[in-house]
Symmetry: C2
């Protein structure tokens, strides 16, 4: 066990922080609540971003870029939206600094006050719909299927690396449609894209569902979400897709003329995932020795470490190591041959374990003789000896095996942590036990939802899509309920 990393059992929150910082994903910054994403962490985000971007483009979306700043009055145009975001936004009030006449420092130049304050975007519905007004006149202009990759700011009081930071990176899709049905279909399609990405690339199983009214996005008619389960039994919302109805079209007066030349407000969706996914990935798979990254999004899939015995056959080891690396690279595997002389193999092993590199290949003098290598899986720590002949094919297969095994393990854990509870006692006992999701009856009112949250810190994560109807009684009030919903404590 790595001494640098606090164990999960000892302190789960500290374990997470250790992984992020010592796994070289991110660092705290000098700015409150903002983080620095380090090169290794950013390479991971790039892999995730690029794959998502391909999936967005495959479903007909294009990228664009809208301003960072939002005029204060825009935020105010959609009532629920302003309620949701006004309390946590960074406000630009001035556009110039000047030397402090009474000191050595800089002060805000009082003469450079903006006529209208600008908000650093917490999300871009308002600025985008104010623009769509000029782009949409007729049904021929629809649908508009636009995505934006950018930074956003929500002034959080309690922050955690990746999971909740004042500035974060994300993508936000904003689409405009001629009919309600089409917009709902789009919102559901993008939820499917997110779920596919989480399961097939991040190896994180998710539950697709609908948020209750009180957990809905500020300004949405319906919020769809994917919910994942972390190793401590807490849930994490990994992505949301909103059917916005005509709320923003009405707020910004965006109408289109249909085929019969009749005017109507445009229907909208928005959907987003963020660097929060990195946090989800870390917490879903890693162990007390460090990160465990799924091969399909690992920045580095394979590392080859030569085991030198002094200078004996060092050149030969390097030649074979580089040759193997080239072979793997030609097979489309991302690989590094680590011939750094300053560090010993044991140090390197621990380092790559910490960074979660899926496969480690060790190459020693005996391997040269036997034409073999020692291959270690990061996820199970199993070691096997493989022939150098046909190595690329074997490693390709192994990477696929690891990807599937990681998913299966997370799925088994998740499924083992969905508990049906029928009484308040069972619910409370479960929450304080192994936790996870609790499928329970709820009377459907926001008041009961809030009361349950107050008592237990658990919230309704979602009403799963395709949830079977079932008569029952609310675990808190005993009032009638027509279906179970999923409760959990959550990040």
């Amino acid at each position: 066990m790595s001494k640098e990393i606090t164990s999960r059992e000892q302190d789960y929150a500290q374990w997470y922080n250790d992984l992020v910082i010592k796994g070289s994903l991110a660092d705290y910054s000098a700015v409150r609540g903002c983080m620095v994403i380090k090169p290794y962490g950013f390479a991971l985000w790039e892999k995730m971003r690029d794959q998502l971007d391909r999936m967005f483009k495959d479903t007909g979306h294009v990228n664009a870029y809208f301003p960072l700043f939002i005029p204060k009055s825009y935020l105010n145009k959609e009532a629920a939206h302003v309620e949701g975001f006004a309390k946590e936004c960074a406000v630009v009030t001035h556009y110039r600094l000047k030397a402090d006449p009474g000191g050595e420092g800089l002060i805000v130049d009082p003469e450079a006050r903006l006529e209208e304050e600008l908000i650093v975007r917490p999300t871009s519905e308002t600025i985008i719909w104010s623009t769509y007004k000029t782009w949409i006149q007729s049904y021929r202009d629809l649908p508009l299927l636009i995505n934006q990759w950018c930074n956003v700011v929500r002034w959080e009081m309690r922050t955690r690396l990746f999971l909740r930071t004042s500035e974060f990176l994300w993508q936000e899709g904003h689409t405009a449609h001629a009919t309600s049905d089409e917009a709902v279909a789009e919102a559901r399609q993008m939820l499917g894209v997110y779920a596919d990405f989480a399961e097939k690339y991040m190896a994180v199983p998710v539950i697709r569902g609908l948020k209750t009214e009180s957990e809905r996005f500020a300004g949405a008619v319906d919020t769809y979400c994917i919910e994942a389960l972390m190793q401590d039994g807490k849930a994490l919302q990994a992505g949301t897709s909103h059917f916005l109805g005509q709320n923003f079209a009405k707020a910004f007066d965006v109408k289109f003329s249909d085929k019969e030349n009749k005017l109507d407000y445009v229907w909208a969706t928005s959907w987003g995932v963020s660097t929060r996914l990195v946090g989800a990935l870390v917490m879903a798979h890693s162990d007390d020795d460090g990160l465990i990254l799924p091969p399909r999004i690992a920045p580095l899939q394979v590392v080859i470490v030569p085991i030198y015995k002094g200078e004996e056959k060092k050149d030969l080891l390097n030649d074979r190591g580089r040759d193997l690396a080239r072979q793997l690279k030609d097979a489309g595997i991302s690989v590094q041959f680590d011939d750094n002389d300053n560090n010993r193999p044991g140090w390197k092993f621990a380092e790559y374990e910490k960074k979660g590199v899926p496969v480690r290949i060790a190459l020693g003098l005996r391997d040269l003789e036997n034409n073999s290598v020692e291959v270690a899986r990061r996820d199970t720590k199993e070691k096997t000896t493989l022939s150098m002949d046909g190595l690329p094919k074997a490693i390709t297969k192994l990477l696929a095996t690891i990807q599937q095994a990681m998913y299966n393990k997370a799925l088994a854990f998740r499924d083992d942590h969905i508990t049906r509870v029928d009484t308040w006692e069972e619910f409370e006992k479960g929450l304080d036990g192994k936790a996870g999701f609790f499928a329970a009856h709820w009377d459907g009112t926001p008041e009961t939802e809030a009361a349950i949250k107050d008592k237990t810190k658990a919230t309704i994560r979602c009403i799963p899509l395709g949830n079977p109807p079932e008569e029952g009684k609310c675990i808190l009030t005993g009032k009638p309920s027509s279906q179970r919903v999923l409760f959990a404590r959550a990040y």
Copy 2:
């Protein structure tokens, strides 16, 4: 000539704006000085960004992400730097809005005032070097070769789409080195990368040079630049690469221990190009009918337009058109088959001309009979008839021909607009004539440089790298000069 677009002769500035807006690259936004980059413009930027990113990675750089906000006091740590940026920065002073107790609107909550104001980054040297302090202890930590793609804000009073906007997208490389020589070599290497990119991908010839002291980046020891020439004879700085010496290491106290365990300040570079390059591309190549984009970065390289005669053989035209598109796509060409029924071929031709698509293929009934297509080049407007057999190969070759021809044309124009002048009269006459670059003697003082700028609006664009020494007399003061420098009016 397209009626929508003002001609260059009539109004060059309006021509540029027309191209950007009617070519669907960008739009004005509701926020002063900020633009909306539309999907077609963003696709162009993506092509440029992705190619640059490959070139950065090929030269050993990795990406990372640093906070959007910079504490006010950080900006103040490097004297020249603060001088350069304090006058044009967006300042965040508060972190919350609240309902106006006296009205319906929102006001800044006076109780949510930040202890220290935050600056929206105009460039990231300060926040990055404050972070490097924690990352660099020893020569083993060097070099650090990090790049960041992000948005930055400089509060400009007079803005123009792409060329000068308050918010823009860019990349900023920030590297740290153990020696001065290594840092200088890095700054020059990245200048070379920029020049290669401009010439080989944008088809824009550039002059590599060194800025004079007064045009240097705020905080740099030396600023290298590439300068391009626009069709109106004005120069445009297309990229800069700075040798920062130990200025930022000293400002943020970043020292490393060398192999002999001796402490020294770290040496630095920074380098950047921005969405301004899109403006340069537009102005370097386009004509009065619209954009002309070089094939290697055009979002769409080829469009195929079917010429229907009512319903006659429409299916056959569509089949052949789609088949040709598929063939071209398989050959790695980005292509669109435009079977949109709502628009006539003539309208489509004008539209793709306006958008600068390098090659247009028209496919009519007679072409089906002859097994041929009509191929039109956007750059020269030449039309030829090509056989459908072997079309992918012919089009691949044509795209390469267009790329080279566009570069050659821009190079000939540029070379024709470098004038050697030896007297003030020649200089003034030249500036009011066909303009361009003027190679002239200058006495080497900032005072003379400023006086020349006051009189003519022309500035010293650069001292070209490898400039031959030549004795002469300053065109303004008559004082001795040891080399010619390049003057021009500039964007």
